[in-house]
Symmetry: C2
Subunit: 330 residues, 2 copies
């Protein structure tokens, strides 16, 4: 598998050098692998910190900036960052109002963020943590006990980030994050596997005529394999599965997320089918975000994340955000 | 090749239905295939219209909105739209101040936009046209006489769009567009071919260990094939080739554009190498945009577009823009 890289060993620091070059509004510590908004710590503001394995870009480093994350810690590809990165990030963004860790539910991330929270508390930083676990495809998976954290991470980081930007205290930012996670569910499909730079070949085997229903963002197995389906059939399955667990009685926010290797042309076609299913089920869609936001390297496929929203969450969603990967209203 | 589609025949209208669902700020005529900003025509404003084959998303439909295009006409995949679409778009956006067509230099597009300009003039709409031909890889190619139009299209649409938004008259908007095109040069590489829905198999044959240097955005042949190179070597070749023709004496704007199938993680690593080469050559970089903007379906690869900028062009670049694909400052 050909890649636009130098050597597999330097993929993450190379990308961080590129982020530093392209985004002078961020402070990128390439050696220690921490991305921080340049004006951090912001006086009177709760700090939002996330992180996880690389390979899901723009998540998380591309979501650092006003209205979203204060800092992100990228690990190696599909590998948790280490507690040192997280403690350093917390120290860089804490204004004295405390820090919220947004943690995707993978065993390594959970362990390391827990350890980092203890270490940061030892340094006098108040830390709260919220676990994101929105993926309804499977309970317990290759790297997870319980549900995996996927597309809802973007929703949590955006809406908790907006609350923090408005000056909400830590308990409130944490409560928003928790509510967004509990109000969100996701389901993803893969048409192809992805290839990590270290391995150089597809991470799993998916025959030409089949797709994986319920795949994880590292290519973890889903619910089942089937013969290839149309965009409309996939939308029926994915949205149907999400709605079974979410049971919205009001409007939802929809993320139609590309896995990385699927063209935007196809994602928009899939979006039409997602909207059709929601219309048929009587679920009003308040906002729709379409694009490659929580990716799995070059995997072809897509996921649907829905979040039940009320006026407060919608206001936080619409609030200004200025990051490399998500930007509006300012 | 598996795709997230219903049937190949409906890929473009399906995507337009998805755009309509996701972007209520746009008026999408699915049947007639025209995407228009909802508030068009804007009183006293020159209208900007572009279009071309689909498969390059977000170009062009994703660049419709305040500060950029007023309308876009998507053709079938890699196929020029027809004059009817362009005339309809011109009529929808003309406020009486005239319309500028931004045309990528491909034979079909040029013919059809020329015919549309005549038809629109017959209807009393003043039309000017600017040809984008920034690709230094080859003169004359599969679909082109002269240089191909690629990444600079984004620069032209953004900066001419900003001038139009400020109320500049047609001659001025046209002059800006022409100057941006003449100040821009691009070079692209492919690591894999792309697959069109209609064909269902790769559009050209690229062996596992080789890359295509100077590839076009439809997979047209470039300058040469070589054994796979590192990101740094590719940056040396691509940036070196662009600089030979561009010869900037001041700052440049840089677009590091993904072909569609290359992960953002790799694009950022490539950005670091592009910046290294420019630093070594003593070329200051005023702004850098990194991402999948002018794509070729699922092709893996990237291109570099540089534009010589002065204070005026930089101000137009930084001006607010609010489109699905490009958005800042508002």
């Amino acid at each position: 598998m050909k890649m636009l890289i130098n050597v597999p060993e330097s993929v993450v620091p190379d990308a961080l050098r590129g982020m530093a070059a392209a985004h002078p509004e961020l402070t990128v510590d390439v050696e220690r692998r921490v991305v921080v908004r340049r004006d951090a710590p912001v006086a009177g503001k709760v700090g939002l910190v996330s992180g996880g394995g690389s390979g899901h870009e723009p998540l998380h480093g591309g979501f650092v900036g006003p209205g979203m994350l204060d800092a992100a810690c990228p690990g190696e590809v599909f590998t948790s960052p280490v507690p040192d990165q997280m403690v350093r990030a917390a120290a860089a963004v804490d204004s004295g109002k405390g820090v919220l860790f947004v943690v995707k539910n993978y065993t390594g991330d959970v362990l390391n963020f827990n350890m980092a929270a203890e270490l940061a508390e030892d340094e006098g930083i108040q830390v709260a943590s919220v676990l994101v676990n929105d993926d309804v495809a499977v309970t317990d998976s290759l790297y997870t006990a319980g549900r995996r954290g996927t597309g809802a991470t973007l929703f949590v980081e955006k809406m908790a980030g907006a609350a923090a930007e408005e000056g909400a205290p830590l308990e409130r930012v944490e409560a928003i994050a928790r509510r967004v996670n509990e109000s969100s569910r996701s389901f993803g499909v893969a048409l192809t596997a992805c290839t990590t730079p270290a391995k150089g070949s597809p991470t799993f085997d998916l025959p030409p005529g089949e797709l994986e229903l319920g795949v994880g963002i590292h290519g973890e197995p889903g619910r089942e394999r089937r013969a290839m389906m149309t965009s409309g059939e996939i939308a029926d399955y994915a949205v149907g599965t999400v709605l079974e667990e979410l049971r919205p009685s009001g409007p939802v926010l929809a993320l139609v997320n590309g896995a990385g290797g699927t063209p935007l042309l196809e994602l928009y076609g899939f979006t039409a089918e997602v909207h059709r299913v929601l219309r048929e089920r009587g679920v009003p869609v308040a906002r729709t975000l379409v694009g490659n936001y929580v990716t799995s390297l070059d995997m072809a496929g897509a996921s649907v994340t829905l979040c039940r929203v009320d006026d407060e969450l919608l206001r936080l969603w619409d609030a200004p955000v200025r990051t490399p990967g998500l930007r509006w209203g300012c």
